[in-house]
């Protein structure tokens, strides 16, 4: 009694910001399932991916839209032999040389998922929905072996939620409570992946004070976020964006 709110808060304030990339990624174990946000290189948490290479976890399953390009980022993680399986919609693109090499050599397992089904499976995981039906893939090779059901005369396939141990996400502005905004087309898979993993790690382009983010503009509320590491955009650009993809 008699304490001000400010005093009550001293020392116990929520602060999800961690010191560095190593702290952000600590505890990710061998065999982890890791979601990586982004579409091509836009919104892709490059520094966290590079950090994961340093961190050393092996036998990873990666969930991402693309399978990397060039020999940086996801491609470098795969080239380092850390990835057992990739779940994605569009593995082949200009510059996806590492994927091609490993896949042809039988060193990488691949699960192809249509992009909308990938997004919805991730969303379902975050929303506590174990599965859903979609007309996407009906009558194609990708529906083989899947349970189907008819609703109002139309056939749908059953798709299961896609969970992860860790989501690596890039946000534009964050506060210490974990609230995130995104920038333009950088939102893409980041906002859904942030909801779908046991632990969500955010690479933030900039930290602002609590209260500075307009509540109407917050896309990912802090409840979904566990750790934040700040990597200013200038540093990100200097690290070199992927080409092609």
């Amino acid at each position: 009694m008699g304490k001000s709110h400010a005093e009550e808060g001293t020392g116990t304030m929520i602060n999800k910001e961690v010191r560095d990339i190593a702290d952000a990624l600590s505890g990710i174990g061998d065999g982890a399932v890791v979601m990586v946000g982004g579409f091509g290189s836009v919104g892709q948490p490059d520094a966290l991916i590079e950090g994961l290479i340093e961190q050393g976890a092996r036998d990873l399953t990666i969930i991402a839209n693309n399978a990397g390009a060039g020999r940086v980022g996801l491609a470098r993680l795969m080239e380092a032999g850390r990835v057992r399986k990739i779940i994605c919609s569009f593995p082949r693109s200009a510059g996806s040389v590492v994927f091609e090499e490993l896949f042809r050599a039988g060193k990488l397992e691949l699960e192809i998922v249509p992009q909308g089904t990938l997004a919805e499976r991730i969303r379902a995981a975050g929303a506590g929905i174990p599965g859903f039906y979609t007309a996407t893939t009906v009558g194609t090779l990708l529906a083989q072996g899947k349970e189907t059901r008819t609703f109002d005369g139309r056939t749908y396939v059953l798709e299961h939620a896609l969970h992860a141990d860790v989501a690596l996400v890039e946000a534009w502005r964050t506060d210490r409570m974990g609230n995130c905004t995104y920038r333009e087309s950088g939102r893409n898979f980041n906002a859904v992946m942030a909801m779908a993993a046991r632990m969500t790690v955010v690479q933030s382009c900039g930290m602002v004070a609590v209260g500075a983010l307009d509540p109407e503009m917050i896309v990912t509320p802090g409840i979904f976020v566990d750790r934040i590491v700040v990597v200013p955009e200038a540093a990100k650009v200097a690290a070199g964006a992927e080409g092609g993809a």
């Binding site: 579409f39 091509g40 836009v42 919104g43 839209n65 919609s89 569009f90 593995p91 082949r92 693109s93 994927f99 091609e100 896949f103 691949l110 192809i112 998922v113 249509p114 992009q115 909308g116 089904t117 990938l118 997004a119 919805e120 991730i122 969303r123 979609t134 007309a135 996407t136 893939t137 009906v138 009558g139 194609t140 090779l141 990708l142 995104y182 920038r183 333009e184 087309s185 950088g186 939102r187 893409n188 898979f189 980041n190 906002a191 859904v192 896309v219 650009v237 964006a241 092609g244 993809a245």
Partner: protein
């Protein structure tokens, strides 16, 4: 042989753009369809959708005005028109799967007379094809137009009786724009509604893998 000039990719894109009415929400696939974004007639409001979370994107920017955060589904830099919006991938495909778009324009390896579309894998043995958003677009959009060269580079027909490549979706294509003709898919048949000047029906039929019906006057 008739003397006729097949449409260039850019002219084909412009031909398709002419047919997109004001107010439609449209997704453009990779390849020729992407070129349509730069060919929408000035002053016509067509809202372009991109899988990666954009409604209302505009033409490519000038090189000095490139915004690194703004790309289309083909990973090319674009601009945002007034009234444009951003959203995440699950909402983006809710728009697609939920039937909210008016049209998608896709490329094709093969289209069959029953409307089957094959545009994602060149053989069943291709174990790492890139499907992207094609299957979601093909089943979720009420009108699926195909933009393609009339034949392969080797001259083989792309308009066929039955697709030999793995399907993207069965029975979805409603219209095909090629560098030679505009063809509606109606009740399991290809109906030619427009041909480039100078092209004979016989010449078009010879480059097509299934019998065509014609609803066009013959050009000399």
């Amino acid at each position: 042989m008739s003397i006729c000039k097949p449409l260039s990719r850019r002219d084909l894109a412009a031909r398709i753009a002419r047919d997109i009415p004001e107010g439609w929400y449209v997704n453009l696939g990779i390849g020729i369809p992407t070129l349509i974004a730069d060919a929408i007639p000035a002053g016509r409001e067509v809202i372009l959708h991109s899988e990666n979370g954009i409604l209302g994107f505009g033409p490519a920017p000038a090189p000095e005005a490139v915004d690194p955060w703004l790309i289309n589904a083909g990973k090319q830099h674009v601009t945002l028109n007034a009234g444009g919006s951003f959203f995440h991938h699950a909402d983006s495909f809710a728009m697609i799967r939920g039937g909210h778009l008016d049209l998608c324009v896709l490329g094709a390896f093969e289209v069959a007379a029953n409307g089957d579309l094959a545009n994602w894998a060149t053989s069943a043995e291709d174990s790492a094809p890139a499907v992207g958003g094609a299957m979601d677009l093909a089943v979720g959009t009420p009108r699926v137009w195909v933009a393609t060269e009339h034949t392969t580079r080797e001259g083989a027909p792309k308009l066929v009786e039955r697709c030999t490549y793995p399907l993207t979706a069965p029975g979805v294509v409603t219209r095909i724009y090629t560098n030679l003709a505009v063809i509606d898919v109606r009740h399991g048949r290809f109906v030619v509604t427009e041909m480039i000047p100078g092209l004979s029906r016989e010449a078009l039929q010879a480059q097509t893998g299934v019998e065509l019906q014609f609803e066009v006057p013959e050009y000399a």
